[in-house]
């Protein structure tokens, strides 16, 4: 028992778990980090430096991958360059009552290795929306309360971006912004002139300049390779493997154990506290209990909800901390119903060098200020302009020496962009356990049922029409708006399953990410979100995790936990 006891246990080693590990260990807590997947160490990323000709099949997704990873292959991600980061769906099944794309990375670092690195603050508009509109429950945290923690997260992680002074998208502590390319500068100017809409460079967790602190000597600046998803041996982008876990390790206070599936919280009814977690070794099947004064669940919105739903006791017959009946409910993501493209005339004598791991961003403008629409909330666009490559010849009869000659010049410019829309929290969008269905470890399966509803559908009209309007207003040609069948989860931003709020009857967590009914358990991944904005959420998870860890250590010191 002694050797299995720690001050703190962190479940999960991804975006949130890495931050929890760093903050708790730096504050002196002996911390056990449990990761259900395999070990990954910086800078050991197997495909990171492969040249294009070293990747088989022109880097196309193979039938074998599609067979083993059918859900992961619903996106374009699991190519030969990347597929090792995406879970084997056959070994890790779940039940889709409605189509739900659950993209997962079971390894140390989790999805912080594969993320798109877009890093935006939520603003007052987002934190106040539920209360003002009477949707779900109010946020228990204001923008001003979380702003210093955003500062901390941005400074440590290294977020590049431009200062814009937008109310709906607060500025942060930025490293220098990436360049917009020539056509994006043109698009920005025309959008501003014709429609009064802003186009900015994406804010991303790539080091466009050295970090402004000395805490991460293992990280170098971004080398403009744009192969981030493979893992970056330069440490050019933020992941828990490149940044937070090395910090935690240097304290000497971290014990990191891979291949450990946490499936249950241990609850002591007499103490009214969690005393630890139950773990299954994914390779040996061995069961172990680990004990600690506090537990941080950072296993992802569905992963943490799973553990809590599976932790039943006389006190919590419906799942851990589930007095409100909201555990597993209110699943959100970002609605992504299609993309838009256009071709651009001119600019034929210019191009770009280097590969920018970033694109442009058109921040939300709907239902901002005086704009009022027939739906709530809004959306933003992410996109880029680029010169077309050899694929353009597929649309022509060209061949032979003529084709080879033409291929020595870059093709015409194109602009493409994708809208990400806010999805409201609905109690009816839920995850639950099916105890009659088991995985290979004998653990019950998660069942997911989440769809977009009326507000999202109304918003989709604007998402599509506005894209066409902007591309046409810019004078671009062949404007096409493509509709895709979007399934919740496809933006890989699933969230909301253990929302925070001031009222324990309506929420699972309090404003410090503590389980209302069991204060020594904290949940700091996307589970806690009471609403979801249209911004990419990872930076918000970092900020709330750091704040929760600070609160946890203060409360421990006061003897409150």
């Amino acid at each position: 028992m002694e050797q299995n006891s720690f001050d703190a246990i962190v479940v999960g080693s991804g975006m949130s778990g890495g931050w929890a590990a760093k903050e708790l260990t730096e504050k002196g807590l002996k911390t056990l980090v449990l990761e259900r997947g395999r070990m990954v160490r910086h800078p050991d990323y197997p495909t990171a430096t492969k040249d294009p000709w070293e990747l088989p099949y022109g880097n196309r997704i193979t039938q074998e991958t599609r067979h083993r990873k059918p859900v992961q292959s619903r996106t374009g991600y699991p190519t030969p360059a990347n597929q090792h980061w995406f879970v084997d769906d056959l070994d890790n099944p779940y039940v889709e009552e409605q189509p739900f794309d659950w993209l997962r990375g079971y390894h140390v670092g989790g999805r912080s290795l594969m993320w798109a690195r877009q890093s935006y603050r939520f603003g007052p508009l987002d934190f106040e929306a539920n209360a003002k509109e009477g949707v779900a429950i109010p946020w228990p945290v204001t923008y001003d309360e979380i702003a210093p923690w955003y500062d901390k997260a941005e400074i440590f992680a290294g977020i590049s971006g431009s200062v814009e002074g937008l109310y709906q998208l607060p500025d942060g502590k930025f490293l220098p912004p990436h360049d917009l390319n020539c056509v994006e500068v043109d698009f920005k100017k025309r959008l501003d002139e014709k429609l009064g809409r802003k186009l900015i460079i994406g804010r991303c967790a790539n080091l466009t300049a050295p970090l402004t602190h000395n805490e991460s000597p293992q990280r170098g600046t971004c080398q403009a390779r744009n192969m981030c998803i493979r893992g970056c041996p330069f440490g050019g982008y933020f992941s828990s493997v490149s940044a937070t876990l090395p910090s935690a390790e240097r304290t000497g206070n971290m014990t990191l154990k891979p291949n450990q599936i946490v499936y249950e919280l241990i609850y002591d009814n007499d103490k009214g506290k969690a005393t630890g977690v139950r773990v299954l070794d994914s390779e040996t099947g061995k069961q172990t209990d680990y004990f600690a004064k506090i537990v941080f669940l950072c296993a992802s919105a569905l992963g943490s909800a799973y553990i809590m739903l599976n932790s039943t006791s006389s006190r919590f017959p419906n799942g851990f901390g589930n007095d409100s009946g909201e555990l597993g409910h209110n699943i959100m993501d970002h609605n992504k119903p299609g993309n838009s493209n256009a071709s651009v005339e001119g600019y034929l004598e210019v191009a770009y060098t280097g590969r920018r791991p970033n694109g442009f961003y058109i921040p939300r403008y709907r239902n901002v200020g005086k704009d009022k629409r027939g739906y709530l909330r809004g959306f933003g666009y992410q996109g880029r302009a680029a010169r077309s490559n050899y694929n353009r010849f597929n649309d022509t009869p060209l061949m032979g020496a003529e084709l080879k000659k033409a291929a020595l010049e870059p093709g015409p410019w194109t602009v493409g962009m994708t809208a990400f829309g806010e999805i409201l929290p609905y109690h009816e969008n839920y995850a639950r356990l099916d105890r009659d269905k088991k995985d290979k470890h004998g653990l019950p399966l998660l069942v997911v049922n989440a769809v977009v509803r009326e507000n999202e559908r109304k918003m989709e009209e604007d998402m599509k029409n506005d894209a066409a309007e902007m591309l046409e207003a810019a004078g671009y040609k062949n404007v096409t708006v493509k509709s895709d069948a979007y399934h919740v989860g496809n933006s890989i931003h699933e969230s909301g399953t253990a929302r925070m709020g001031n009222d324990p009857k309506k929420s699972v967590l309090n404003k410090f990410n503590q389980v209302h009914a069991c204060k020594n358990v904290f949940v700091t991944d996307g589970s806690f979100m009471p609403s979801f904005g249209c911004q990419n959420p990872s930076l918000t998870y970092m900020a709330f995790t750091a704040r929760a860890a600070d609160h946890a250590v203060n409360e421990l010191k006061k003897g409150n936990l």
């Binding site: 022109g58 080398q223 770009y352 597929n394 061949m399 080879k404």
Partner: protein, 200 residues
């Protein structure tokens, strides 16, 4: 890029190499070091002439080889055969395409060969100019009328393009390929680029 930029780039690469060596605990092998300095891997491409077929049967490999050869011929620079495109198509068909598409492609090769020979000379007996004309005719025909599935010849060309422009010679002879660019410049006149197409 002018000369001073190039030497700057080299300096940056050397700095980079140092950092990599440091990160790996000083264990950067000589070939890996060379690769970083050259901005590309030292590994050689797989040659494509004689292929051990996973997918092609009988003369199919010869037919696809002949088609790839005229789609992207060797000129003053390497062509599809130098890049191993037939072996690439064989592997992609075997491991990437689903069964129905495999069957269509296989039937497509056979039908192409039959149709190409119907004028008199069998396709594989035609000289290069005749083969090129035959393939061009097939492509032109594919662009007329409606087709339920993508016509065979266009799949063959798509894969020839993919195989060639992801091969070592296809990339390095036709594009500016920099493994570690170090920096992104958003607006560069083509006249200042070593090659006009920057690999991305």
């Amino acid at each position: 890029m002018n000369g001073s930029d190039e030497s700057l780039e080299m300096l940056e690469r050397r700095a980079l190499l140092k950092r990599v060596a440091w990160m790996l605990g000083g264990a950067v092998s000589a070939p890996a070091a060379l690769a970083i300095l050259q901005g590309c891997s030292a590994k050689e491409p797989v040659p494509g002439a004689a292929i051990a077929s996973k997918f092609f049967k009988g003369r199919q490999a010869d037919v696809v080889t002949a088609i790839a050869d005229v789609l992207i011929p060797r000129t003053d620079t390497s062509g599809a055969l130098d890049a191993g495109v037939p072996a690439f198509i064989d592997a992609v068909m075997a491991d990437v395409y689903p069964k129905d598409a495999q069957e269509r492609f296989s039937a497509g090769i056979d039908e192409f060969e039959t149709a190409a020979g119907s004028g008199g000379t069998a396709f594989l007996e035609q000289d290069t100019a005749q083969r090129a004309a035959t393939v061009q005719q097939a492509i032109d025909a594919a662009f007329t009328g409606e087709h339920k599935d993508k016509p065979f010849i266009l799949v063959a060309r798509e894969l020839t393009l993919l195989g060639f422009y992801t091969s070592r010679v296809g990339v390095t002879e036709n594009m500016e390929y920099v493994a570690v660019p170090t920096v992104y410049h958003g607006c560069v006149p083509l006249s200042q680029m070593k090659k006009h197409v920057y690999w991305e």
